[in-house]
Every structure is written in C-alpha cells, then in structure tokens.
C-alpha cells in the first residue's frame, strides 16, 4: 500500500511522516497525548480539590519558594527550545547538530530533575511527608507524576541517542522516533506550565 516513498532526492522534507509507519506513529502518539491531557487534568483536579486539606501538616505557603520554581521553569522551557531546534536540524538532515541539541535537552532535563529531587527532600525535612495530609499526597502525586514523565522522556532520548549514534545519520525509521520523543518532551513542558501556575503560583499568590 504505502511504503513507496520517494527517496531519490534525499531526505524527504517531513521525514517523520514520510512512511506509512511514520504517519501511523505520528497520529497514534497524538491520540495518546490527547489521553494524557485528561489524565493530568484528573490529577490537577485532585490537587485543586484537596489542596486546602493540609490537616496538621505544613501548607503550601509555608513551603514553596518562588526562586527555585523559577529556575526549574527556565530549565525546562529552554530544554523545550533546544528540542524544537533539534527537530529543525533533523528536517535538514543535520544529524550531528540534532544529536548535540538533543544532548543539551537531556542535560537541561537532568538539571531540572536534580532540582526537583532536592525540592522534595527539602519539603520532607520540613515535615511534609507523603502521608502527612491530603494536600501532601496530591501534591507529590501530581508533581511526582510529572517528574516520572521527565525521567521517562530522558530515558527515551538517551536510548535513542545511544541506539542511533552508530547509524550515524537520519533514516526514515529513526526520524519518527526522534520526532515523537521531542513531542513528548514538549508535552511535559506544557504540563509544567500548568504545574508552576496552578500548584506553585496559585498557592503562593493567595486564593
């Protein structure tokens, strides 16, 4: 049916969607992201519904520190940009640049993760254990789930980089893979936008 792709001219302009397999993966992944939206929405709703339930434990205002969150936000936003740029390099068949930009993304992601772990450890020291209150549980669950996504995204990038460093170039098989990983990374960023707004800023900014 389908895998008749014209490859004589070099890498097609949208290599991630050049083959039927690529098209399928592309669409399938978007469907998945659509589903993720509502899953995260559920966790956001849970957090918003329970955030007043601090029981005897510390509350959001007592804990959260804006500068830390700001740094984390900047890291993640920048990594999103590098990931976008990596995709441009991919489309231009610029494998090296793509790998480097992806590596930068990974480094930024790791830094973000480091801060997040530091943050959690800090909160635990301040008496906000996972089981302390409904607020604590829903906070750790929501932000932790995002963190888990970051971890998964990083593993994905790293696997791809290791796997395809040998290939040494962009193919019609690995282009969709890099593209999807990048989409995933953007999605993580999108979720973070809401996390820093809804979880951190809204808790500190009163209401």
């Amino acid at each position: 049916m389908s895998d008749s792709v014209d490859t004589s001219q070099g890498l097609p302009s949208n290599p991630e969607k050049a083959t039927l397999e690529g098209k399928n993966k592309f669409l399938g992944f978007w469907v998945f992201l659509g589903g993720e939206t509502i899953m995260f929405a559920t966790f956001f709703g849970t957090f918003l519904g329970l955030r007043e339930g601090t029981a005897a434990g510390p509350s959001a205002e007592e804990l959260f520190s804006l500068p830390l969150v700001f740094i984390m936000t900047m890291l993640l936003l920048t990594s999103s940009l590098t990931s976008v740029l990596a995709m441009f390099s991919m489309k231009k068949n610029n494998f090296k640049t793509m790998m480097i930009l992806t590596a930068v993304t990974v480094v930024l992601g790791l830094a973000f993760l480091g801060f997040e772990i530091y943050e959690f450890v800090e909160y635990v020291h301040h008496g906000l254990g996972y089981t302390t209150s409904a607020f604590a549980s829903s906070f750790y669950t929501l932000v932790g789930l995002h963190g888990a996504h970051v971890v998964f995204g990083l593993c994905w990038f790293i696997t791809l980089m290791i796997r395809y460093s040998r290939t040494g170039g962009i193919t019609l098989t690995n282009a969709p893979k890099f593209y999807l990983a990048s989409l995933y990374w953007h999605f993580i960023d999108v979720v973070w936008v809401f996390i820093f707004t809804v979880v951190y800023l809204m808790s500190i900014g009163g209401a």
Binding site: M1, N24, L27, A55, A134
Partner: protein, 618 residues
C-alpha cells in the same frame, strides 16, 4: 508461516488481527461464563428470603467480581474481538496500523484480567462493588482483594487503551482508496468512536486507580476526611470514566446491529448520515452526564438539574438510531435466522432499558430508584438485552468468516428463545422489586416483605439464560464437527467489504487493495459491477509484520510487577515484594527496550507465492 514452530508458539507470537480476534473471543467468553456462573450463584442465594447459601462477605465478592469481570473482562474483549476481526476487513486494509501494539494490547489486557482473577487464592476477591467506592475500598476497610482489583484493572486498562489507539489510527490512516469516512460501515464508525471514548475515559480511570493504589499501598490521604481528603472525589473520577464506559460497550453493539439488520433486511441502512452524527453526539454527551450516578450524594440542586437535563438529552440521538433501525427493516425482505433474531430483538429490548434510563434521570424520582433493583433492572436490560444480544448477533453473523463454517441454526434458535425468555423473566420483575424497597447489593432480604416470589422468578429466569448460554457452547462444539465447510466468499449475501474476501481469509486479507466506489461497496459491486471488487493496485509482493513474543513478555512482566505491588500489602509474602517488583520491571522494560533497539521491518510475501495462495483459496 513457521511450519516448524508449534501451534502454541504461533498463537503466542501472532500479530495477525484475525488471530488476535479469536484470542479475544476465547478470553472474553471464558470470562463471560465465569461471571455468568457467579451471577447464578448470586441468584441462588437470593432465591429465597434469609437464605444462607453465601455469606454476606462472599456475596459482596461475587457482585464485585461479576460486575467487574462482565464489564472490563468479558464485554470489552468480546467487542474487541469483533472490532479486531471486522474493522480492518471492512475498511479494506491488509492489517491494523500497529500489529505489534495490537498483540500487546491483548496480552496486557489478558494478564491484567488474570491478576484480578487470582485474588480468590490470596484471601478473597475484592468486595466493594465494581464501583469500589471509598472509604469502603480504602486501606482501612478492605482487604487484599481490592489491591488485586486496583492493579489488575490498571494493567488491563493499559491494554485496552493501547488497543484503542491502534484502532483509531487504523481507521483513520489505513482505509482503502475510495473508502471515505462517510462510506465507512457503521461498525467502523462506532468502533472509532468507542476507541476515542476509551482514550478519554480510561485515562481518568487510570488516574483514579493510581490514587486508590497510592492510598492503599503507600498511605496516600486522598479519601479519608481526617487528613483533609474527600470521599466524593473518587466517585467523580470513577463516573467520569464510568459513564462513558457504558457507551464504550454499547456503541459497538449498535454497530453490529447496524451491520446485521441491513444485511438480513436486504436494504441499506436507513439514515446513514444521521446514524453517524447520532453516534458522535452520544459520545460527546456521554462525558457530560456522569453526575447522574451521584444524584443522592448531595452535591446540590443546580448540579443535579443540569446533569439531569444532559442525561435526558442522550435519549434523542439514541432514539434516532432506534427509529432508523426500524425503518431499515421497514420495506425490506427480512430473513430470520439466529443473527437476525438477536439483532432485531435488540431494538425493542434496548428501548425498554433506555426508557428506564430516562426515568432514572429524573433526579427526585431517582432518589427512590437509586441503588435499588430498579437500577439493576435498567442496566441489565441494556447490557444483557443490548450488548449481549448484539454480541450474539455478531457471533452468528461473522462466525462463518472467522471459522469457516456456520453455527447450527436449530440450536441457535433454541438458544435465542431460552436466553430471551429467561432474560425477561430475570430482569423485568426486578424493576418492581426495586420499587417495593429492595436495595441492590444485599445478600439477603428478610421474610415477609413480599419479595420472595419475585426473587424466585428472577432466579428461574437466570437459569434459563444459563441454559441458553450452555446451548451456545454446545452449538460451538457440535457445529465444529458437523457443519459443512464454507467455500464461498459471502454466505449471507451481505453488503460490506469483509465479505469480499475469500474464505478462509489469507493472512494478508486482500491480495490487491480494493477500490471502493460507494457505501456498502460489496453490495454495490454485486448490483452495479461484476460482483467482485475492483483492485486499486496491481498484484505485487506484500509486506507483512513479523510475529513476536515480546507482547506476551511485556504482559507477563506487568503481571509480575502488579503482583509484586500487591505483595507489599501482604502479611507474610513468600519472598520480599521488592524483588518481585524488580523482576516484573526488568521483564517489562527489558522487552520494551529490545523492541525499540531492534529495528523490525517485517517481511515480504513474494508475488508468486501470493498468486499461489490466491489460486488455492478461490
């Protein structure tokens, strides 16, 4: 393909959608019989007042498992069986979009189901109803059974989710040339919409189950008010999933009916466009009505009124469907065989269940109905009188294509009448039981409340239904030995593309992708063409995916992982839980890693082999 490998290996590694359909069919049937037998036990317990056949605890385990298995592990896979089998054929595709994911979906679902089922051997099944309302299902009030429920459903839900994504992409991307969206058979449409509903409904369920798991295993504080939690939270999350879930089940049944009725009325589906839009509207509305399960929670009159109106609104598009089916039959030339008996009787039966649904939507009156046998009657009228009848119709309709022979008609008609009469006996009377004050989920009722006779009748009906199912099982075995093989493409003189394939279907479905020129393309070619599909491409070698054991391994890995998680809550586990969790983790992610590292482009069937196969089958 691999003649040197064993049959078993072949089935474990298959990625062929037709074989997966059979696997789904078998798994679904097993679970259906299991849950059905549980229903019979429940009915025996309720046969007479103050009976002590089952204790309260056991009874609660039975209702929970009955409901859970029926909805998640019986109805869903049976629907997937037909979707897997028919959808790629109906859109003229060689295969689904992601054959590997398709197999993965099955195995994850299967192992998830297995995890729920083994709970009996570890101190009892879940016992908080299929809805698992907290706090009854939280760590404080429920035992290990609920852990099996939470993790088993979580895992099988992942399977269902990935299968749904596969169906969506298949239907959108893999249609044959000329098969526009508005020429797709209605079963494909409902399959598409159901899959979309799954994507958007199973994800909140996954979130909810994760919360419950965190609550039970890691001491999360989501639901217990003492630490700031809220018990209503779970109900919202559950029903945000739960209401779409019932349409997830019934829409494909609608689809089957929309295939079978035109086929045996010899008429095209009346109001095709309206049917498609009705499906879409139902799907949309189904996300806006969940509070109708929570009218008595006390959320407030505004909320209740809004959701009541939204709920009633669903009656309109559903009504459109009902009348379109009636008018498809109207003016047709109807043949009544078992498939058509089931399909046509679906229509009035579903209406009976649907109108009680609308009655339930009247909030103040629902204060009476809620959590009584009236509700039980409502949804069994739809799930048994609707979904099960639809699935039976589908079974008798597609059986010849799937297995190469028809089911025996005499036994079929016997099954139908046993089942149908039994069904009305069982469930009609439950409406009245509810009104005279019998709550649901009660393991017994006291003497002298006027409930004895009606319950007895209900039990007798259940046994008639059981007899009906038994006749079906006998029929399957009997027909396998006695029915003549089918060699024609189209034993029913039907209308859609799956009947354009040869019987048995070669693994690549269509040697040449067909060119579609109309709705009901096969019928169109029979009337306006030469009775065969026009090819859209020259005969060429055919690309096929390789089989793989990895889906099975990933499913197994998740099973082990889930079991390990449950072991965290066990008092004396045989071995430390973290080890089991780790092993499961390694199996799962190891397999996934292997999959992503090894590029697998499948193989090609050479042209002369295709020609040879084509000659053989036709």
């Amino acid at each position: 393909m691999n003649n040197n490998k064993s049959v078993l290996w072949d089935w474990l590694t298959t990625v062929d959608h037709k074989k997966l359909a059979v696997l789904y069919l078998m798994a679904g049937t097993l679970f259906f019989v299991k849950a059905g037998v549980m229903a019979l036990f429940m009915r025996i317990q309720l046969m007479s007042a103050e009976n002590d056949f089952l204790s309260g605890q056991t009874f609660n385990e039975f209702i929970t498992m009955h409901g859970t298995i029926m909805l998640f592990l019986a109805a869903t896979p049976l629907i997937f069986a037909f979707m897997n089998f028919a959808v790629p054929l109906q859109i003229g595709a060689r295969d689904v979009a992601f054959p590997f994911i398709n197999a993965l979906g099955f195995w994850i679902f299967f192992f998830g189901g297995l995890l729920v089922s083994v709970s009996w051997f570890f101190g009892g099944a879940p016992d908080a109803g299929w809805t698992a309302y907290v706090p009854l299902s939280s760590g404080e009030y429920a035992d290990l059974g609920l852990d099996f429920y939470v993790l088993g459903l979580q895992i099988s839900g992942i399977g269902t989710l990935v299968s749904a994504i596969n169906f969506i992409v298949t239907i959108i991307n893999m249609r044959a040339p000329g098969m526009t969206m508005m020429r797709m058979p209605l079963f494909c449409w409902t399959g598409l919409v159901t899959s979309i509903l799954i994507v958007f409904a199973f994800t909140p369920l996954a979130a909810g189950l994760a919360l419950l798991m965190l609550d039970r295993i890691f001491g999360g504080q989501f639901f217990i008010p003492d630490s700031g939690g809220n018990a209503v939270l779970w109900q919202h999350i559950f029903w945000i999933f739960g209401h779409p879930e019932v349409y997830i089940l019934v829409l494909p049944a609608f689809g089957i009916i929309s295939e079978v009725i035109p086929a045996f009325s010899k008429k095209r589906l009346f109001g095709y466009t309206a049917m498609v839009f009705a499906t879409l509207i139902i799907a949309f509305l189904s996300f806006m009505v969940w509070v109708h399960h929570m009218f008595t929670v006390g959320i407030g009159p505004i909320t209740n009124s809004v959701f009541a109106i939204a709920t009633m609104a669903i009656g309109v598009p559903t009504g459109i469907k009902i009348f379109n089916w009636l008018f498809t039959m109207w003016g047709g030339k109807i043949t009544f065989n078992t498939a058509m008996l089931c399909a046509s009787s679906f229509v009035p039966t579903f209406v009976l269940g649907g109108v009680t649904g609308v009655m339930l939507a009247m909030v103040p009156v629902d204060y009476l109905y809620h959590d009584t046998y009236f509700v039980v009657a409502h949804f069994h009228y739809i799930v048994v009188g609707g979904i099960v009848l639809g699935l039976l119709a589908g079974t008798y309709y597609w059986y010849p294509k799937m297995f190469g022979h028809k089911l025996n008609e005499k036994l079929g008609i016997l099954m139908f009448w046993l089942f149908y009469v039994g069904f009305h006996l069982t469930f009609f009377i439950q409406h009245i039981l509810g009104l005279i004050g019998m709550p649901r989920r009660v393991f017994t009722y006291l003497d002298g409340q006027g409930m004895e006779t009606m319950n007895l009748v209900s039990t007798i009906g259940a046994f008639l239904m059981g007899a009906g199912v038994l006749v079906l099982v006998i029929n399957v075995v009997y027909s396998a030995f006695t029915s003549e093989r089918i060699t024609v493409r189209d034993p029913w003189d039907a209308r859609t593309l799956e009947w354009a394939t040869t019987t048995p279907i070669p693994e690549y479905n269509f040697a040449q992708t067909p060119q579609v020129r109309s709705l009901d393309p096969w019928f169109y070619e029979k009337v306006h063409g030469d009775g065969l599909m026009k090819p859209a491409e020259p005969m060429d070698e055919i690309h096929m995916p390789n089989g793989s054991i990895l889906p099975f391994m990933i499913g197994l890995g998740l099973f082990v992982w889930g079991f390990g998680m449950i072991m965290l809550n066990m008092e004396n586990p045989i071995m430390p839980a973290p080890i089991v969790i780790g092993v499961g983790f390694v199996i799962t992610f190891g397999s996934m890693l292997m999959r992503s590292i090894k590029e697998d482009h499948g193989y090609h069937i050479p042209l002369d082999k295709v020609k040879k196969i084509e000659k053989e089958v036709s």
